[in-house]
C-alpha cells in the first residue's frame, strides 16, 4: 500500500473550474441570506459574472499551457494527475461556458410568461393545490436554478477533463444530479415535468451503476483507476481480456446513456419534452458536449491501444443511433420530442467522428484528426441546438408554449423572422451547405472515411437523407400549411433570449461560411495528454 500523498492543486490552470464551483457555492449562500426580491438580480449577475470570469480564465490558460512531458500535446496534469487540463479540455470548457452563458440568459428570461421565469413558483407545492395557486399569484419563482445550473456546469467541465475513472464518475454525478432537479421545475405542465425528472433520475442512476461496475472491472484488469496506467496495461496486455472487454462495455453504457445513443436513448424524448424549455436547451447542448469529451478521453486515452476491439461496437451504435433517431423523429407530433430524436441522430453522427480515430502517424498531412472533427461538430451542434430550443420557447398560445407541430402551421406568416431563424437552425441540423451543420458533417464523415469506417459513412449519408426529410417537414408546416384556428402566436422575448437566438444563428452561419478559424482552433487544441 503506497502512502497517501497530499496532491498539489494547480490553482492557475484550474481557475475556470474553481470559479464556477465557487460561484455555485456562493449562489447557495445568496439563496439562504438575501431577501427574495433581490435574489433574482443577484443570482443572474453572479452566474453571468462567474461564467465570464471562467471563460476569461480559459483563454488565459489556453495561451499559457506548455507542451506536456510526453511531447505530443500541450497540457498539464493537475491535482495529482486526476484532472487533465489539455487542449481538448480547454476547448470543451470554453464551449460549455459559452453555452452556459446562453443558458443563463434563457433561464433569466421573464418576458415570455407574464413577468415570471419558466420555473415553478414553488416546486414543493403539489400541482393543482391552493399552495400552487398562491405561489403563482405571488409571482414567486425559484432562483435556486442558478446555483443548480452552476453545479451542473462544474460537472460538465470536470467530466471531460477527468483523467481517472473515479474523477470521471464524480464529474458524471455532479453534472447529472442538478439536471434531474432542474428538469422537474417547469411552471406549466408540472406533472409532465415531474414525471420527466423522476424518469431521468431513475434511469440515470441505473446507468451510473453500469458505469461504476465497469470502472470496478477495469480496475480489476489494470490495477489502477488512472487512464495512463490503464493505457499502459492495455498496451502490455496484462490481465484478463474479458475483464477489460466487459469493463469497457459497461463503462460505455454509462457514457452512451448520457449522450443518448441507441439503445440507451429511451429517456431522451420524455425528458426533453417534460423539462422546462430553457433547461432542455442548456442540457441538450451542454451535456452532449461534456459527455462526448469524456467519451473521447476514455476511449482515446485509456483504451486507445485497444481501439480494434471497441471500434466495431461504436460503429454499430453510431449507425443505430442515426437511423433510429432519424426514423422515429419522422412520426413525432411534438417539436421538443422531434428535436430530442434529432439529437439522438446527431449523437450517431458525432460517434461517426469518434470512430475515426487513427494513430497520429497514419494521418496524411493536412488531414484533420477525429478529435478536431468531433470538437468542431460539437461547437456547431451546441449553438444550433440552444438556438433552436430558444425559438421553441417563443411560440406560445394561452396555455404556455405550443409544442405541437401542427399548431406551428402558418408561423411563416405570423412571424417571418422567427420562422426563418428556426428554419435556418433546422437546415443547419440537416447539414445543408452554408450552415455550420454541413461543415461539421463533412468533418466527421471525412475522418471516419480516412479511418476506413466507410460502412458507417455510407449509413450516415443515408441517415442524413432521412433526417433532412424530417427537418424540411417542419419547414413545410411553418410556411405552407393552413394554420389551425387562430394559428400560433409569438411572444416577444426580452433582449436575453433574443441575444441567445441571435448568437446561435450567427455562429451557425459563420461556422458554415468561414469554418476555418474554429477548425484551426480545434486543431490547435491538439490531442489529449496522457
Amino acid at each position: 500500500m503506497t502512502e497517501f500523498v497530499k496532491p498539489t492543486v494547480e490553482y492557475f490552470e484550474l481557475w475556470p473550474l474553481l470559479v464556477v464551483f465557487g460561484v455555485a457555492c456562493l449562489g447557495v449562500v445568496v439563496e439562504a441570506f438575501l431577501p427574495r426580491r433581490v435574489r433574482y438580480t443577484a443570482q443572474v449577475v453572479l452566474a453571468l459574472g462567474g461564467l465570464v470570469l471562467a471563460l476569461v480564465g480559459v483563454v488565459l490558460v489556453a495561451q499559457d499551457v506548455q507542451t506536456h512531458d510526453d511531447g505530443a500535446a500541450r497540457g498539464v496534469l493537475a491535482v495529482g494527475g486526476t484532472i487533465a487540463v489539455d487542449g481538448p479540455s480547454l476547448f470543451i470548457w470554453g464551449l460549455v461556458l459559452a453555452l452556459a452563458i446562453a443558458g443563463v440568459l434563457l433561464f433569466a428570461e421573464r418576458h415570455l410568461d407574464g413577468g415570471v421565469s419558466a420555473f415553478a413558483g414553488q416546486a414543493a407545492a403539489v400541482p393543482g393545490t391552493d399552495a400552487e395557486t398562491a405561489a403563482i399569484a405571488a409571482h414567486r419563482e425559484h432562483t435556486e436554478v442558478y446555483p443548480l445550473m452552476m453545479f451542473a456546469v462544474f460537472g460538465m467541465m470536470l467530466f471531460p477533463a477527468a483523467n481517472d475513472l473515479l474523477t470521471m464518475f464524480v464529474g458524471l454525478e455532479v453534472l447529472s444530479l442538478p439536471l434531474y432537479l432542474l428538469s422537474g421545475l417547469a411552471r406549466r405542465r408540472r406533472l409532465l415535468s415531474q414525471e420527466a425528472a423522476l424518469k431521468y433520475f431513475l434511469l440515470g442512476a441505473f446507468s451510473s451503476g453500469f458505469f461504476l461496475y465497469g470502472a470496478a472491472l477495469l480496475y480489476g484488469f489494470a490495477g489502477s483507476m488512472d487512464f495512463a496506467a490503464i493505457n499502459e496495461a492495455v498496451r502490455n496486455d496484462v490481465g484478463s481480456s474479458s475483464l477489460l472487454l466487459i469493463g469497457t462495455g459497461l463503462l460505455s453504457v454509462g457514457l452512451l446513456f448520457k449522450v443518448g445513443a441507441v439503445p440507451f436513448q429511451a429517456w431522451t424524448p420524455d425528458v426533453y419534452q417534460g423539462a422546462p424549455t430553457p433547461v432542455t436547451a442548456f442540457m441538450a447542448a451542454g451535456t452532449k458536449v461534456a459527455a462526448f469529451g469524456a467519451i473521447m478521453r476514455l476511449f482515446y486515452v485509456a483504451l486507445g491501444a485497444d481501439r480494434w476491439s471497441w471500434q466495431p461496437m461504436l460503429w454499430i451504435i453510431a449507425v443505430l443511433s442515426m437511423f433510429v433517431g432519424a426514423a422515429l423523429a419522422i412520426t413525432q407530433r411534438d417539436i421538443k420530442r422531434l428535436l430530442a430524436y434529432s439529437s439522438i441522430a446527431h449523437t450517431g453522427f458525432i460517434l461517426t467522428g469518434v470512430v475515426g480515430l487513427q494513430a497520429t502517424d497514419q494521418l496524411a498531412t493536412g488531414e484533420i484528426t477525429s478529435v478536431q472533427a468531433v470538437l468542431f461538430y460539437l461547437a456547431t451542434y451546441g449553438f444550433a441546438t440552444i438556438g433552436a430550443f430558444a425559438v421553441v420557447s417563443l411560440v406560445r398560445d394561452g396555455g404556455g408554449e405550443t409544442t405541437a407541430i401542427d399548431r406551428w402551421a402558418g408561423l411563416g406568416k405570423e412571424s417571418p423572422v422567427v420562422a426563418a431563424v428556426f428554419a435556418f437552425f433546422l437546415l443547419a441540423m440537416a447539414g445543408i451547405p452554408l450552415t455550420a451543420g454541413f461543415v461539421g458533417k463533412l468533418a466527421v464523415f471525412s475522418v471516419a472515411l480516412a479511418a476506413g469506417a466507410w460502412p458507417v459513412v455510407v449509413a450516415a449519408v443515408l441517415a442524413s437523407i432521412v433526417a433532412a426529410f424530417l427537418y424540411v417537414r417542419v419547414i413545410k408546416v411553418m410556411y405552407f400549411d393552413q394554420p389551425v384556428g387562430d394559428g400560433p402566436s409569438v411572444a416577444y422575448p426580452s433582449v436575453l433570449t433574443a441575444t441567445t437566438i441571435a448568437v446561435g444563428a450567427a455562429v451557425t452561419l459563420v461556422l458554415g461560411v468561414l469554418p476555418g478559424p474554429v477548425l484551426d482552433l480545434a486543431a490547435v487544441a491538439g490531442e489529449f495528454i496522457r
Binding site: 434511469l203 472487454l245 453504457v253 439503445p263 429511451a266 461496437m313 412520426t331
Partner: protein, 649 residues
Amino acid sequence: MAEGAHAPVVAPDTGAGGVFELLWLVIALPLLGAVLLLAVAPFLPGSARAAVDRHGHLLGTATAVASFGLSLVLFLSLLGRDAEERQVGQHLWTWFETGSLDVGMDLLYDQLAALFLLLITGVGSLIHVYAIGYMAHDPRRRRFFGYLNLFVAAMLTLILSANFVGLFLGWEGVGLASYLLIGFWQHKPSAAAAAKKAFVINRVGDIGLSLAIALMFATFGTTDFGDVSAHTGEASQGTLTALGLLLLLGACGKSAQVPLQAWLLDAMEGPTPVSALIHAATMVTAGVYLVVRSNFIFELAPVAQTAVVVVATVTLLWGAILGCAKDDIKKALAGSTMSQIGYMMLAAGLGPVGYPFAIFHLLTHGFFKANMFLGAGSVMHGMDDDVDMRHYGALNKAMPVTFLTFAMGYLAIIGFPGFSGFWSKDKIIESALAENLLVGVLAVLGAGITAFYMTRLMLLTFFTSRRWEEGVHPHESPRVMTVPLVVLAALSVLGGVLLLGDWIVTWLEPVTGHAEHHEPPLPAIAITLLITAVVALGVAAAWFLVGRREVPREAPREVSFATRAARADLYGDAINDALVVRPGTGLVGGLTLFDRVGVDGAVEGGSAAVGGLSSTMRRVQNGFVRSYALSLLGGALLVVLALLAVNLG
C-alpha cells in the same frame, strides 16, 4: 512526326512596356460597347434611350474601329521588335485560384495573335460599317450592334488569352454571340431553330474542348500555354493523343468540320453581316486557330494530326459538293466556307510545314469570303431579300459595284493566278502533295469543284438571263455598303503580298516551329500549272452545264441521285438523326422510365418503409420507466456481448 520535332515553347515577355501596356484595351473597347448597348441602354430614361437607339450603331462601330486602330499600332510596334522578342504577355489579374489550380487573366500577344487581331478588328470594322446600311431599317438595330460588339470582344478574348481557360471563355462567348445573332430575327421559326441547332451542335464540340482542358490540368497541373508547351514532352503518348483528339473535337464543332458540320448552312438564317463576320471570316476559323495554337500538343501526337488531316480532307470535299447543289446564294457560300476551312485544317494537320499556310489561307479567305458574303447581302438588298439564285440573273448591269467587287472575290477563291486565294491555296496543296499523295490529289480535286460551284454561282447571279420576280427592281446599294465591299475586294486581290519573300512563313516561325522541307513529287511550277488546269476545267464545266443552258426558275425535280444527296446536305441531318438524336431520345426515354420506376420507387418505397418502421418503433416508447430500464439493460447486454463476440469469438 520525325524525332526531334519539338514545337517552340511559349515564353512571353511580360515586362514589355509602352504601347503593349494597352493590350487589354483591344478587348475592353468592344466589350464596353456591348455593355453600354446591351446592359446600360435598356435602363436609361426614355429620351436618353431613344437617343441611344438612334445613334447606338455609331458607338458600336466606333469601338470596333478604335480597336482596329489600336491593333494596327500594336502590330507596327511588334514589327519594330526583334524576332525573339515578339511574344508579349500581360497579366491582368488572378482570375481564380483554388487548390493547385491557378488561372490568371493573362493575355498573350505574339505573331499569331497579331495577325488575328488585324483580321478580326479590320474585317470586323468593315462589316460594322456595312451593317449601318444593311440594318438601317431594323427596329432592333441597337441590340444588333451590341451583339456584334459582344462577339468581337469574345473573339478577341479567345485569340489573346494566354491560357486554355481564358480561351474557353472567349470560345463560349463567341458561341453565345453566334447563337444570339443567328436567331436575331427570332420571329422567324426557321431562325430560332437554326440558332438552337448551332448552339446544340457546338455544345458537343465544347465538351471536347472542356475535357481537353481538364485533362491538361490533370496531366500538367496548369492550362497556361507557356507551362503546357514546356512540359508536353513529359506526358505519355496516349495522353497527348487523347488531348489532340479532344481538341480536334472542339475545333470540329466551332469550325463546322465533319461530323459536326450540320449547323453552318442553317446558320445563314442570321442577318448577312453576321454570316460574313462570324460564319465566314472569323469565328468559324477559331478551330484552325486552336489547332495551330496547340501545335506543341499536335506535334507530339501524330495520330491526332492524322485525324485532323482526315477530317479536313473529308470536309473540304463535303462542303464543295454542298456548294454545287445549293440554289440559296448564302447556303452555297456557306458550303464553300466549310470547304475552305477544310483546306485550312488540312494545312494545320500537316504540322509546321502547313501552319503558316493555314493562317495565310485563313487571312485571305477572311478577305474574299467576307467580300462575297457582303456582296451577296448587297444583292439580296437589291432583290427584296430573295436568296434564291434561280430568281437572279444578269445583275452585272444593275449592280455594277457589287458585281465588280464580287468578281474579285470570285477570282480569289477559285485561285485565279495572281489573286490572293491563288497563292494561299496553291501552297496548301503543294504541301499536301509533298506529305501524302492521296490527300494532295483530293485537295486538287476540291479546287476543281470549287471552281465549278463558284462559277455556277457567278453565272446564275450576274450573267445568264433575267429571272427576276415580278415587281423587283434591282438597284445598287448605298455607299456605306459598297465602300467596305471595295476595300475587301482590294484585299482579296492583294492579299497575296503576305507571301512575298516568304514573309508570313518567317513571321510565324517562332510560334509554329521550323519546318523540315519535303520535296513534292513534282516541281512546284508543275503543281501550280496542274492546279490551274484543274481549276480551268471546273470553270469550263460550269460554263457548259450552266452558262450555256436555259436556267429554270424552279429547281428541276428529275435529278440524279448525287444532286439529290447534295441538296439534302449529303444527308448530314439524317446521319445526325440516326446516329445521335434517335439513340439519344431512346436513352432519355429509358432513363425517364428508370427514374420513374427505379429511383422514384426506391425513394418512395424507402420513405414508406422508414415511416412504417417509425410507427412500429414508436410503440416501444411507451412512457414506462420499467420498460425503459429493461431496454437499457438489454442494450448493456448487447454491448458487452458484442464486444466479447467480436474479440473473443
